[in-house]
Subunit: 483 residues, 2 copies
């Protein structure tokens, strides 16, 4: 059966083991040890995710909150003396599956909208993104200046930057759990989060560059900064424009291919290609996966509907084919995010004050997004949807640990712990509050923008009310409980 | 968006990179380099698999042959000066996805049969497995004694052992491509391959132990040998017996859980658990995944059919939910197997003679399996289905490289290359010949065994003819071409 060829360094160990512990040899020699860990981790993750999701739904919350909490609990069993699961948090194989889960999830969410629908929310999404980066940066700077006066202003600036970028994974999943991915609020949040990612990278590069330059007493070059922005913008508009032109042709040709799973295979290859291209352009891969989902729409798959009968079920809607893959991989992402939370490190009371202030700054800062939504949407839901910082905040903090100015780390270990706490709280607080805010009725027509100029009825499908959303039936307990 | 926390050793590099190459920093600092490779590898693999599968089907062959050949071509582009894809062959992340693909594939194939249906072929499968291990061992020994007379008899013995075990992955996929997984031939082959895996481990451990003992001038202990056999047998019978008892109860409870994808999640967790347990028992994980598939049957999912409407499509048949996951991951397994073939290493003409003799011994040896099939089956298909050695042969050869007797490797590099060639040819030759042999009509009622004592009609569903198989419609070109 299937075993890997042992790397040559393993051979001697293998031979020795043969004599002492025969049974496990043949498999272990094949490099199977790592795969055994992966299998066990998947069993733990899937079981924990499903049990946690069940408890969350019984409490009227989206499944994703239960998956995160399941991860936090499973990842901290060492506190009660159980060390068996610690390997999952740092298993590189599980990490790849988690990242792949985030990519498939954002592809799925992207599939639920089209480029044209996203273009409609282009203006409010850009406003939301800008406000949602500027306000938290100012608030974070303020918290730093207030609670860490002994540190330089660069530290305060970096703290502000760590609060700037939204982590769309959590929000996307909550919207999906609630069957609300196609609402205007969802489109604004997701569009703004993509723009946020671009802005976040610019902020990180700019602030890091400033600090480096200050440390060395030189000025920062403008060229590299502009190049970051240009690459990101070129990627986004290029991918969408080229994708919309090219993919119908690709599908017409692919429909003539023989074999099983052509529609799924071609579509996933496109999603992974754009995810890779986003990474190569300096963006997060999930931005590319989301763009791929936006590009693809039902009409492109029609050539498959005609030949579907001869292709073993390829006439299935693509979304239906991608869903089981997301159901396997997306929980890996959320449980692993919970796994990385080390509750034991939060015993330091002096850190809790800074953490609390940063969390408040992070949450209130994103409420500025409400001012940019435009008319006819549930503004509060948009403000809430932008809250989670997820792993973006973590990587900011981590880079801050490594950045030094005059021999001192920009972010010291206790500030780092406070940032991690902020990330956890913003991540955990979003699902229940977003679910609650989406159950409130939409505020149609209110707001400072002129009402949209589209003829009545055209937007009926694009602006479903919460009560009229057919997907809501899939979550009876959430939609039936009165708020 | 989603990025990993950088390990502390990366931080200094990160800071340096920030100054020189800003755009890629934020993402690369998150450990994204490896994931970028994985994404690109998946794009190449999925595209190659679909194009190769199409060409194979146009030539009247199963898709899997095209996927293997696509892997061989893509993996050897360095011969024509293209080095860009070499990383895929040794990317540990892609390797895990490939192994997961093999696990999901064998789970899928197991789902198509039940424990009761497999038990019916228990006697012929055991006979086929025994004959299929003994004959190739003798033939391989003979080839070694004939072409390598200067080497010790232990080398000949080890060569024989390397020819013994069937790699069921290829055959399982060909049977699936042809819609023949539920035929009695398929059940005999798959059952025999599982028994083969157990026997192969015993042979490997025994031969290796003998050589080690001979090298050190001591006798081999019987205890460890018996313990291997006991563990493997205990696992197989234990997993099947406990699974059939416990899983209906697990599904009744799981059906009460709220959330999406419960049926799929619980079923995959069970498959991964048995795959892990098989590995822990010293067997290959895919044996456990196959056992999990055998245990699960439609009747167990009935609690989900009743509550399905409230669970977002959980009433889907499990097989339909697993299929897209297999369509993503199984091609990774086959393309990567092709990738590992290094055609440049086969230029040595002196090796080709040994390789040809070993290949003939491997193929003819497994034809002994035809004697064990019992009545009413296409014997030739069974003999052909047992041919592929896949990676099993490779790991035998690899362990042989490391085993020394009186300072000399049991398998020297040129013998190793010959074994690799044998593995490739047996793997590539099986799909087309098996497809051809399954298109021949079944030899009902012939053979030395008494006809089965089941009442007429009871086996109607278990013994579909090739023409009457509803799945055959999915592959019109294969089933319409006259043999």
């Amino acid at each position: 059966m299937f075993r890997r060829t042992a790397p040559s360094s393993l051979r001697r160990t293998t031979v020795l083991a043969l004599l002492t512990f025969l049974p496990a040899v043949a498999w272990a020699a094949g490099g199977g040890e790592a795969f055994q860990h992966t299998l066990l981790a998947l069993v733990v993750i899937l079981t924990g995710a499903k049990l946690g999701g069940d408890l969350a739904q019984r409490a009227g919350q989206p499944s994703v909150l239960g998956e995160l909490v399941a991860g936090v609990i499973l990842g901290n069993l060492h506190v009660v003396g159980v060390d068996a699961l610690g390997f999952i948090a740092h298993d590189p194989m599980i990490d790849v599956l988690a990242q792949l889960g985030a990519v498939v999830l954002l592809f799925e969410v992207g599939l639920e909208s089209t480029v044209a629908q996203m273009a409609k929310v282009g203006r409010p999404a850009t406003m939301v993104a800008l406000l949602g980066v500027i306000a938290p940066m100012l608030f974070g700077w303020g918290v730093g200046a207030w609670l860490l006066p002994e540190h330089s202003t660069y530290v305060h600036l970096f703290l502000g930057a760590a609060l700037s970028a939204t982590s769309v994974g959590i929000t996307a999943r909550v919207l999906q759990d609630l069957g609300q991915s196609q609402t205007p609020e969802a489109r604004i949040i997701l569009g703004a989060a993509v723009i946020d990612d671009v802005l976040g990278l610019v902020v990180l590069a700019a602030v890091s560059g400033l600090i480096q330059a200050a440390d060395q007493g030189v000025e920062m070059a403008l060229g590299p900064l502009l190049w970051i922005i240009a690459k990101a913008v070129l990627f986004l508009f290029g991918a969408l424009a080229v994708g919309v032109k090219v993919m119908p042709r690709v599908y017409r040709r692919a429909a003539r291919l023989r074999g099983d799973g052509i529609l799924l295979g071609v579509s996933l290859a496109f999603a992974f290609l754009l995810a890779w291209a986003a990474g190569a352009a300096g963006l997060a891969p999930i931005v590319g996966a989301f763009a791929a989902g936006l590009v693809l729409e039902g009409a492109m798959f029609e050539p498959f509907a005609r030949t579907g009968a001869a292709h073993g079920g390829d006439a299935h809607e693509l979304e239906e084919l991608v869903r089981p893959i997301g159901q396997l991989l997306a929980p890996v992402f959320f449980v692993v995010m919970g796994f990385r939370v080390d509750v034991a490190a939060f015993g330091d009371a002096s850190v809790l004050g800074l953490a609390a202030a940063l969390t408040v700054a992070a949450i209130l800062g994103k409420q500025a997004c409400m001012l940019g939504t435009g008319p006819g949407v549930r503004r509060f839901a948009v403000g809430v949807g932008m809250i989670p910082r997820g792993e973006v905040g973590l990587i900011f903090a981590n880079i801050g640990l490594g950045l030094k100015i005059k021999g001192e780390s920009v972010i010291d270990p206790s500030t780092f712990t406070a940032v991690v706490l902020m990330v956890i709280v913003t991540t955990l607080v979003t699902p229940p509050v977003l679910a609650w805010s989406l159950r409130r009725p939409g505020v149609q027509g209110a707001g400072g923008y002129p009402p949209p100029a589209t003829p009545p009825g055209q937007d009926a499908e694009a602006l479903p009310s919460a009560a009229g959303n057919p997907d809501a039936a899939a979550l009876p307990d959430v939609s039936q409980d009165p708020p």
